[in-house]
């Protein structure tokens, strides 16, 4: 520790701290623009100049390391003169158009100029004008306002992993721009809006809609990926106006993915369901809640009476809250049916009954940064888990060896130590090679089931890396969870983890994937899982927050089954187009912003939130709807008066973590390494902006590059083998379903594989996400 003095106040700081760190610790404010705690130091705005004893010139506090005995004056005449001088320079070419600037009221330049700027400008010359740039549908530019702090440039390079912005030209001609003709396409691009200390980069969807001081700030939790990003939702007149990150270093730090940030647009979408609807004589009628719920209660009672309760099933999206899922399973089980599931995109359920607890990340999110060896298996990492990818990016930069086993070779923007790419059917063998190699290198016994695999150099390289680590982590991505041999992959990862002493876990697919297990919204003994519920048609279905035509492992099968069912009750915030066909009742239930509830994120953290706005139109929180439905069905245990009461029942208390319920260990899994696949394999990703019902309806996100139309991607070998010409429209087929897609060359794919995205209307008629697929060239 070093002894220093800031403004006469003595303090101790750690070696290597800068003056700005020390001042922050002490609570002394030093004005700054270019400095940001998560970015490299530029020391270019010069706003943080302070006086340091014995230094002839004022020093930038952000870049000057403290030395023992250093005496710093942040408000001396020299310091304040320097700061005021810099402020004046920053304003000479700034347009000072605050009255028409969207940043007004939350602008660092505005705030600091109140303290350090002059009342009038001494600059009487012509001001600089900078042409605006097209950064895409999310970020608006007013480049004349830019003060060249380069925070956005450093963000794209250091945090988002790809230099999409730069400062071109020199001196006064310097301007921030993207590559010529290119937009900013990072899945984290919205963060540059927060980082911009002036009004140069503002939110395109939000701009001109409200002033920052008119907005109420409410805390919430992101309903999308398994991270559970902390949000500040800003509202005005009971309408969500925009979403900002809430700093939480153990979860999302100060970042948000674009999905978390801009999906709010869907909350105000015209496709919202306004009133309960009943289908009668093939026509839809808006009805009162009472009538709709009576109808549902009667229908479910009838089915239970005539066909047995086992003819009822419930399918919920893992984006539903803990409370909703808990009441849903309680309702079904109260009626006598154990057919409850949330794992809609899963196809291998053979781990059920063999698990020791809810599958989870296997560690705290913040621990990811500390790992020295990482293996990611089967994950579209950047798009499925943008901020976990960001943590791995930082870990890799610090020297962690990150390896990847997957079926596609997308631009991951994490420095990989090794990677092995294979067709989905070959992933188990590939992982088995790593397990075998690791066992050999560690000189422990090799499992007889995998003893016969021959280890490729890549697998050996991955194993060697893992074996050499002191603190390793193995992560199974969404692709593994959806894989037809998910149990085998799980068992292999478990073996590998035990051989090398690593932690292993799942990158949770959705905001409440862990919560679904904790709420028992998964089939227990005797209940049917989601695949069985669709393969063996039931009479009545309750669908909660899910959009089955896009959220299912096999949408073709899901649609066929739901269409023939006697009663399908859909609880959703949206008027789902396909549901108009297959459903009988549509109940408008609240999205995350209009209900209180809880999500349990991938590290097992329980995060509760309140509604940020009143429910839209006749919408009701789903937990209330389920609770009333329970009453109407005459079931016991539906007396809760608040979501907190439901949570207390589901979690027994108010824990911060559900640590005791989390366990990735599974016993008695039979390894099946043999490939079951013949013909051409489909590799299906869930594109980031099609992953759930909310984000699909966010117009600005739908214009981004990540929302491009799905294509039929394959490598040159596959293209040639199938006789397909790159760029042509081709028909891809699964079962009776056909999709017409552009054929695209993707050199990163394995042979005999076609990558066709799931969760998109264009491909919704196709079958299993990871099944075989045929092509009709034309």
């Amino acid at each position: 520790m070093l002894d220093i003095e800031i403004d006469g106040k003595p303090m101790q700081v750690a070696e290597g701290s800068t003056i700005l760190d020390a001042a922050y610790k002490q609570g002394t404010y030093i004005p700054h623009f270019c400095y940001h705690k998560k970015l490299s130091i530029a020391a270019s705005c010069r706003m943080c100049l302070v006086q340091v004893e014995k230094a002839p010139k004022p020093m930038p506090a952000c870049a000057t390391p403290v030395t023992n005995g250093m005496k710093v004056q942040t408000h001396s005449e020299l310091a304040v003169n320097a700061q005021k001088g810099v402020m004046e320079f920053l304003l000479v070419n700034h347009p000072l158009d605050c009255p028409v600037c969207d940043q007004g009221g939350e602008c660092q330049l505005q705030d600091i100029s109140v303290g350090y700027g002059g009342g009038t400008s001494r600059y009487q010359e012509e001001k600089r004008v900078v042409a605006n740039k097209d950064f895409g549908p999310l970020v608006n530019t007013d480049m004349t306002r830019c003060i060249n702090c380069t925070r956005c440039v450093r963000f794209t390079q250091e945090i988002a992993g790809k230099m999409e912005l730069g400062q071109a030209n020199r001196g006064e001609h310097a301007e921030i721009m993207s590559f010529i003709g290119q937009t900013v396409d990072s899945e984290l691009s919205g963060n540059i809006i927060d980082l911009c200390p002036v009004g140069a980069l503002t939110s395109k969807p939000f701009r001109y809609s409200a002033r920052s001081w008119e907005l109420s700030r409410r805390k919430s939790i992101s309903p999308h990926d398994g991270l559970g990003s902390n949000l500040i939702v800003q509202t005005k007149h009971e309408r969500v106006m925009r979403v900002l990150p809430l700093d939480n270093d153990s979860i999302n730090e100060c970042w948000l993915s674009d999905k978390d940030r801009f999906s709010y647009e869907a909350l105000n979408s015209a496709t919202r369901l306004t009133k309960p609807m009943l289908k009668h004589d093939g026509k839809w009628h808006e009805v009162e809640w009472q009538q709709a719920l009576d109808y549902v209660a009667h229908a479910f009672k009838d089915i239970a009476k005539n066909h047995g309760a086992a003819a009822l099933g419930a399918l919920a999206a893992p984006h539903a809250t803990l409370e909703e899922l808990f009441l849903m399973q309680k309702l079904l089980r109260g009626l006598g049916s154990g057919n409850v599931d949330t794992r809609l995109r899963q196809s291998d359920f053979s781990l059920d009954g063999k698990r020791s607890g809810a599958p989870w990340l296997g560690m705290k999110i913040a621990e990811i940064n500390t790992l020295d060896r990482v293996l990611v298996v089967g994950s579209f990492l950047r798009k499925d888990h943008p901020l976990i990818a960001q943590r791995l990016r930082q870990a890799a930069k610090r020297g962690s060896q990150v390896s990847l086993i997957h079926s596609t070779d997308d631009e991951i923007l994490v420095k990989l130590f090794a990677k092995a790419i294979a067709a989905p059917s070959q992933l188990p063998v590939l992982l088995a090679q790593v397990v075998k190699s690791a066992a050999e290198q560690k000189a422990v016994g090799v499992d007889a089931n995998i003893a016969s695999v021959s280890v490729t150099p890549e697998a050996q390289k991955i194993a060697a890396s893992l074996v050499s680590g002191a603190n390793s982590g193995i992560f199974l991505g969404n692709f593994v969870q959806q894989h037809p041999q998910a149990a085998t992959l799980h068992a292999l990862a478990q073996q590998l983890a035990s051989i090398i002493g690593a932690k292993f876990g799942y990158l949770g697919e959705a905001a409440n994937s862990v919560g679904a297990y904790v709420a028992h919204a998964v089939p227990l003994a005797g209940g049917l899982n989601s695949a069985q519920m669709l393969a063996e048609p039931l009479k009545g279905y309750l669908i909660l927050q899910a959009e089955s035509e896009l959220d299912s492992a096999n949408p073709q099968l899901a649609m066929a089954t739901l269409k023939q069912a006697a009663t399908v009750v859909v609880m959703s915030p949206f008027k789902l187009p396909a549901a108009l066909d297959y459903a009988d009742v549509l109940l408008p239930v609240a999205p995350f912003s209009e209900t209180s509830g809880s999500y349990i994120n991938t590290e097992g953290r329980v995060q509760s939130f309140n509604a940020v706005v009143k429910p839209f139109a006749e919408t009701r929180p789903a937990w209330k709807v389920l609770r009333v439905l329970g009453n109407l069905l005459g079931l016991p245990g539906f007396e809760q008066n608040s979501s907190e009461e439901v949570r207390a029942e589901a979690l027994s208390g108010k824990p911060e973590f559900v640590a005791d319920q989390l366990n990735n260990q599974a016993q008695g899994v039979v390894l099946t390494l043999s490939s079951t696949s013949q013909g051409t394999e489909r590799i299906a990703d869930v594109p980031i902006h099609f992953a759930d019902a909310l984000v699909r309806r966010a117009p600005s996100l739908q214009q981004s590059r990540d929302a491009a139309l799905p294509a039929a991607r394959m490598n040159a070998v596959t293209l040639a083998k199938l006789g397909v010409t790159q760029g042509r429209q081709i028909k891809v087929k699964q079962g009776a379903g056909v999709a017409v897609l552009a054929a695209v060359l993707d050199a990163g794919l394995p042979d005999n594989c076609i990558r066709v995205a799931a969760a998109h209307p264009l491909t919704a008629s196709l079958g299993a996400m990871q099944g075989t697929i045929t092509v009709e060239a034309n």
């Binding site: 530029a42 270019s44 004022p58 320079f89 060249n148 020199r170 001196g171």
Partner: protein
């Protein structure tokens, strides 16, 4: 006064452009210093000591003692270390390295090889200004000669000393002459100075320990090794060892590059240049455009060394002596200089990016009869706000001319502001600026 040239020794102005090749350099005694070091197995420490004794100061402008700089390089560093030669000569008025590189490139190569040996460096770059393309191509040729002759490369002259040297050209940005901006540029990035610390000796090219010296500094090294540091020091004066190249431009009879010992009185240099071309000496910028201007009476009492010029309130800088006679309008001269710094500011840090444009616009206004009474105070205040507050020295470089011009020639500026016209009649100015246009060199248009 007899002057012994070191850097330009053996060169004849009329043939110099043809005697740059290895054979010519060898004839002049070239590579003897490198051979001596390797043959006699002189230790790197001894080489650095000799350079320290010589009191050779950095010739790029800052005048930092070269030997001291070399001793900052970590001795037992396990990774790569780099040596960089700064031939990014871009300051208005400076053209000494151009002549050195044109007429004596092998001297630079030899100096660099010796420096590399002294610091245990195996890889060097010579960063050459992009607007003198022929220097770059010539240096590449010289490198090929030296490589073929075994003066650079692996196992130099049969020893265990390896040193590979590469030429690298910029594209003409002034800021790339700033040493860390230069490093960024070699790395393929935009030439923008880095914040220091860390200094290049600990975090330089590609993040490795790096020493950067000016071309002329390297060129002086072989002589020092052959003749001893003390002898070099004796050539000049205490704390200002050796000889120095001065690039003299402006209203003198024979502008050009002159090598004189440090401490030579300014009038001697002026005489070597044939004296004033026309008219009377008005002012001199003694060290390149960023050095404060000195009026005639002050400069005539100065000797040409770091200390004397500093005492007079300016800088010896790179030794670019810009001589101005009475035909020069100081407002117009400053306008031109301010425009240069406005155009060449890298745009990274605020005071320089915004301040240089402000300075230029105000001076421009004064020159064009739009000056206001408060402008001189404004200029002074803006320069105060720039100086000492920027990442690199370009901010100061832009401010110093403004401060010195308005200080020493205040009356001219005041006249401009008051009378909306120049103190020096236009025809006198035209006469003065046209002196180099001889009939056969007038462009055809």
């Amino acid at each position: 006064m007899s002057i012994q040239p070191i850097l330009l020794a053996g060169l004849d102005a009329s043939t110099a452009d043809r005697t740059w090749r290895l054979a010519d350099y060898m004839q002049r005694g070239g590579y003897a210093a490198l051979k001596k070091i390797l043959a006699e197995n002189i230790s790197p420490e001894a080489v650095i000591n000799e350079v320290k004794k010589s009191s050779l100061r950095g010739r790029g402008g800052a005048g930092f003692p070269a030997g001291l700089k070399w001793s900052f390089m970590p001795r037992n560093y396990s990774g790569a270390k780099y040596l960089v030669c700064n031939t990014d000569e871009g300051e208005p008025g400076t053209f000494k390295d151009r002549d050195l590189m044109r007429f004596n490139p092998h001297q630079v190569i030899e100096g660099m090889a010796i420096a590399a040996y002294a610091m245990g460096v195996e890889c060097g770059y010579n960063y050459i200004h992009g607007e003198v393309w022929d220097l770059y191509t010539r240096f590449e040729e010289a490198l090929a000669e030296a490589r073929a002759a075994g003066f650079i490369g692996q196992k130099i002259l049969g020893s265990n000393f390896n040193f590979e040297l590469f030429a690298h050209h910029g594209w003409g940005a002034y800021i790339c002459g700033e040493e860390t901006g230069l490093l960024e540029s070699i790395e393929g990035k935009k030439g923008q100075p880095r914040y220091k610390p860390p200094f290049p000796a600990s975090y330089g090219l590609y993040g490795k320990p790096t020493t950067i010296n000016n071309t002329e500094t390297f060129a002086a090294v072989p002589w020092i090794i052959l003749n001893g540091g003390e002898k070099y020091l004796e050539l000049g004066k205490p704390n200002n060892g050796g000889t120095k190249l001065f690039s003299v431009s402006g209203h003198v009879v024979k502008p050009g590059v002159y090598e004189v010992p440090m401490g030579t009185p300014f009038p001697v240099l002026l005489e070597m240049c044939g004296g004033m071309r026309n008219g009377k000496l008005k002012a001199v910028i003694p060290g390149g455009s960023s050095a404060p201007v000195l009026p005639a009476d002050i400069i005539m009492d100065c000797t040409l060394d770091y200390d004397s010029i500093a005492k007079a309130g300016s800088m010896l800088g790179s030794g670019a002596v810009i001589v101005m006679d009475e035909s020069v309008c100081m407002v117009k001269a400053l306008e031109r200089l301010s425009y240069f710094y406005f155009e060449e500011s890298c745009g990274q840090c605020t005071p320089c990016r915004e301040g240089t444009g402000w300075l230029y616009r105000v001076v421009h206004r004064i020159e064009h009869g739009q000056g206001r009474p408060e402008d001189l105070d404004l200029l002074n205040s803006v320069t105060e706000n720039i100086m000492g507050r920027t990442i690199c020295a370009l901010g100061d470089a832009a401010a110093l001319p403004v401060r010195s011009f308005t200080k020493h020639f205040k009356s001219e500026f005041e006249y401009h502001i008051e009378n909306k016209k120049c103190m020096v009649p236009p025809e006198v100015q035209r006469e003065g600026s046209n002196i180099y246009v001889t009939p056969n060199r007038v462009p055809s248009c």
